[in-house]
Symmetry: D2
Subunit: 354 residues, 4 copies
Amino acid sequence: MTGNTFGSIFKLTTFGESHGLAIGGVIDGCPAGIKINLDAIQKDLDRRKPGQSSIVTQRKEPDEVTLFSGIFEGKTTGTPIGFAIQNTNQKSKDYSHIKNTFRPSHADYVYEEKYGIRDYRGGGRSSARETASRVVAGSIAKQFLAPITINAYVSAVGTLSLDLHPSKVDVLEAEKNIVRCPDSKLASEMESLIKKVRKEGDTVGGVVTCIIKNIPVGLGEPSFDKLHAELGKGMLSINAVKGFEYGSGFSGTKMKGSEHNDLFNPDGTTQTNHSGGIQGGISNGMDIYFNVAFKPVATIMQNQETINSQREKVAMQGKGRHDPCVVPRAVPIVESMAALVLADFHLRKRNNRI
Amino acid sequence: MTGNTFGSIFKLTTFGESHGLAIGGVIDGCPAGIKINLDAIQKDLDRRKPGQSSIVTQRKEPDEVTLFSGIFEGKTTGTPIGFAIQNTNQKSKDYSHIKNTFRPSHADYVYEEKYGIRDYRGGGRSSARETASRVVAGSIAKQFLAPITINAYVSAVGTLSLDLHPSKVDVLEAEKNIVRCPDSKLASEMESLIKKVRKEGDTVGGVVTCIIKNIPVGLGEPSFDKLHAELGKGMLSINAVKGFEYGSGFSGTKMKGSEHNDLFNPDGTTQTNHSGGIQGGISNGMDIYFNVAFKPVATIMQNQETINSQREKVAMQGKGRHDPCVVPRAVPIVESMAALVLADFHLRKRNNRI
Amino acid sequence: MTGNTFGSIFKLTTFGESHGLAIGGVIDGCPAGIKINLDAIQKDLDRRKPGQSSIVTQRKEPDEVTLFSGIFEGKTTGTPIGFAIQNTNQKSKDYSHIKNTFRPSHADYVYEEKYGIRDYRGGGRSSARETASRVVAGSIAKQFLAPITINAYVSAVGTLSLDLHPSKVDVLEAEKNIVRCPDSKLASEMESLIKKVRKEGDTVGGVVTCIIKNIPVGLGEPSFDKLHAELGKGMLSINAVKGFEYGSGFSGTKMKGSEHNDLFNPDGTTQTNHSGGIQGGISNGMDIYFNVAFKPVATIMQNQETINSQREKVAMQGKGRHDPCVVPRAVPIVESMAALVLADFHLRKRNNRI
Amino acid sequence: MTGNTFGSIFKLTTFGESHGLAIGGVIDGCPAGIKINLDAIQKDLDRRKPGQSSIVTQRKEPDEVTLFSGIFEGKTTGTPIGFAIQNTNQKSKDYSHIKNTFRPSHADYVYEEKYGIRDYRGGGRSSARETASRVVAGSIAKQFLAPITINAYVSAVGTLSLDLHPSKVDVLEAEKNIVRCPDSKLASEMESLIKKVRKEGDTVGGVVTCIIKNIPVGLGEPSFDKLHAELGKGMLSINAVKGFEYGSGFSGTKMKGSEHNDLFNPDGTTQTNHSGGIQGGISNGMDIYFNVAFKPVATIMQNQETINSQREKVAMQGKGRHDPCVVPRAVPIVESMAALVLADFHLRKRNNRI
């Protein structure tokens, strides 16, 4: 069984390789009657698209989506929403050098071993280009979920890290700079760092934090499909992600129960929120927040030794136009995966009671 | 759609509340022809069971499993394996005090809000007792997966942390002490710490690390069901887990691409393994390793203020017999969830090629 | 992927072989808050059980179900309902003669070829005993679905056939005789026929008809999961079923559109109901009715030539206690599968609109 | 949960309304390494397309498919195959008369009630145009399944019925006439009948029979996903289908066990094949054959009384270009659904044994 579908009721199935005719997908299970704002979808795509600023890859692709079905007179009809984004900038010759060569810390080798065949151009199916389809679906999910708000931002680039609790962050600030860090001073340092590593032909990792507000109580399903388990899966399914923690996360392991427990207020809210808005896998109405760790991009503009399909050592140098740091463009992807998870649980919750 | 099933081809569905007649489940999709060692199943259950040592809950439950079906003359038949574990130690009166009270940082409140009804005894469905069913299935999955080895161990309790790369750990050492930490000196310090917090009526968190060896190339499915995404989901679905990271994890976000990339050897192995044995969501044959963060147990033996179902403030004190630190008993659960993930991908891989 | 689960939101997973320790299952996705009448479940099991009358198999099995979980203080809690029925009458020696022999028109041969191993006792997993688990779940589904009514009855045994439109049948009459045919005179003829074929050591087929009333508009999902497609699948999954037709069925193929079309009344009901209560795969509120064809039971008390596992011709004679005609006992099974389909669509419908 | 996906490992998800931009789908789970013959796909689409002969609807649509992904250098890569067929002949004005009117025995009324909104043009999602996507996927499935052969043909139109066992039919004859009946004389009578009913502004039903050869033993999964249960579901999911029977079908209910049982030959084949190639839900290697009942098309060119969305009686006359009998165009659709079922079970079978 392949893994190209995400969600159980609100479902996204994606297709497409980086340099094929198009990428796209089918959103199935979206309820009827949602007013769709097409501009909002395009705006989210623009936040993800290459070439948007001086610190991301300089490839130019308009990433305009065509919606084939499922929307009639501006509203969803409850039928599947098929869509595609043309691949307009397929400089396939850029990739002839990797036809028979496995790039270090890329998926070339494992695809070849797994399938015996691969579309090597631009990484093919393993390219992060696939995430554009997630943004289309995530943007529709956000429109379904309103007034729930889902905002991600960059909280670390390399060793530069934001020290502010997510519930206190002004998320609108993040969109005011090209790094998408809500602290403008830190953002400026991060920008300098990213430019420096790019100049060195290198790349650097980072962290995206996401904060979700106005959540109803009751999202998430015992016992395997806990809300944070699906959020974790969704985030870990994004290219280059190495870790996920929510609420107190890894730092919570160092605490005692008497410190960590969130005492109730009479209205059911809690005085602290170490739990990150989730108890027993189910939302408790408090803010949900989590961190997503992104490794440094594997394509670097330096000489590296690697092997080819004949298992011979070969020298290679990264070519093409790539991101020196992936987190600024990852922000809308993190939001989209969160939106898909919440939309799904929102619908699943309808079946809890008679 | 409920979330009581894990896996897509090798599937476990669990049922059962802490203080009902029994817990249990159905393992479906287990291939025919596997020789089943019943003692190995019981041994894994014993590693998880309450009362096994002086640093875990002193409840006594034998946790003996009855297998109803799916095994004939010592071998699996390809039909579903139904099983149950009787709940023999249901001191239900212990829980009358929480019938109408919501314990802080427990699932009482969210279950009540979600379902409008809950079996409050011992946490009901939200009790970690459910994980015994996972261990039964995980133990069978391990037998299917041999010679793949899956070993978890305690790498941190509170601020006491093991500083040794997982690939260098002697996993057999971990089973020689009651903490299940492979460094006997550190284990002894951890034991002291756990006893100290218990004496204070408190609890403490920790980290379990897992290392998987002898993995074939090709496990994991693009693009949503990446191997580490399913591992992450599996781990995050375990009670009290707050975070998951694999390979370089959160520390990898601070590295540069030139440091992080794993260069190939001619045989397809890599010189370093920051990737944690997974590229593009697919196993590359190197060791898989990951960390799982557990929060401190929420039930403490101290006075806490909380609310009842009438939204009134009430005082409560933890009663019953509980774990001061969950990680020693969590070790076989982590292994079991890893085994379920791998068994599923092992079968899914069979469908990759014509 | 195995096929032991039925339904997508209201789901039944069954386990168990005819002569193992127990059969049973897990009902998952049953909403919280349903009052459960245990007697009603047992009553449906009694309608299916062996030994209930002079025209069915004379095996005696009490078929009492134990519910392990998911019900608290008489109501469903929204958590999975695990259950088992002990196999108390496992005369395994009766089946030693088929250990290495493939009975004609049974599943022995295909199980052996498919799995390489089989529990040959009493047909193992392929035994119709598995349907007792369906009746448990179906009975709970019926309680959820009230006031929808689901009634099946025997409409044909061999060439003896009831000529009355299902909407005009008095379904209560069917339960007044052991054949479960609502026409008492015809029932008596059918009883004689069944006794005659049994005396000949032979068996005979038949038809079960089902009629469903008080159905809301809107059950069923385009485009693959049409209401009648899932009903058809559910019925065809019952042992010995060879065909399914709903509404005008096969006889409708001979009609013209002008005769077949159901004209509307102003209230949305229709003047005729050739459609069988379903349009475009979705219930329209009219009665749903369908026919299910059962072949003659393959186990006959006559000498037959067959082959053994060494592919040698061998003579065999049917042994054990078997049904001369399966349809009287199939009535509650047909109702149960219909209830499972409707319960699932009832929940799925909740997600159609914003 | 919506129902726009068919299959569990080899999966088709379709999207699209009759008069939207395009219909299409995603084929997921198709193994890597299959050589794809694009002409064969188009040929199957041509067998289904409108305007192909004098006895089908005279709408003209080229129905050319664009494959977006999943095929590289002529072979499948194991990644999802996205595809679309433009809707080029969207005479939407033809349908303004049904914007507020519910056509008898169509899905207009139930869609309106279920979703509160519908794309009324040409039936929207309920249009049989959706089946073109099934033919694309089915044609690819056939290429995967070779040398298994799947051939459907028209065996009845109204009361004109072919009296020949499917295993004796020369399936190539069926494609030599526009009715697709393998008996040329009967085909000619059927053609006359279809033309006659069309002249009367009427329509007529019919039966499509399908015969599958060169089947391996072991396809189909106990206990709910029996091979014939999935075939039945697949066929019943096709627009206008009212019934399904396989092997001896409804006529088998009149037989005795001693007549119906298929005695084995020493090589595992059987002397008769009343079972229709399936025992206990699993293929036994003999020919699989089944009948599919199609009702008369509901759109007739006669005056009919009906109701509008205000629940008022209104007169309506069928407009547009419609089929007087659907079975000739249904032949490739039946084959396609059979191919999808078999491709799925072919992959599922790989997981039966260790």
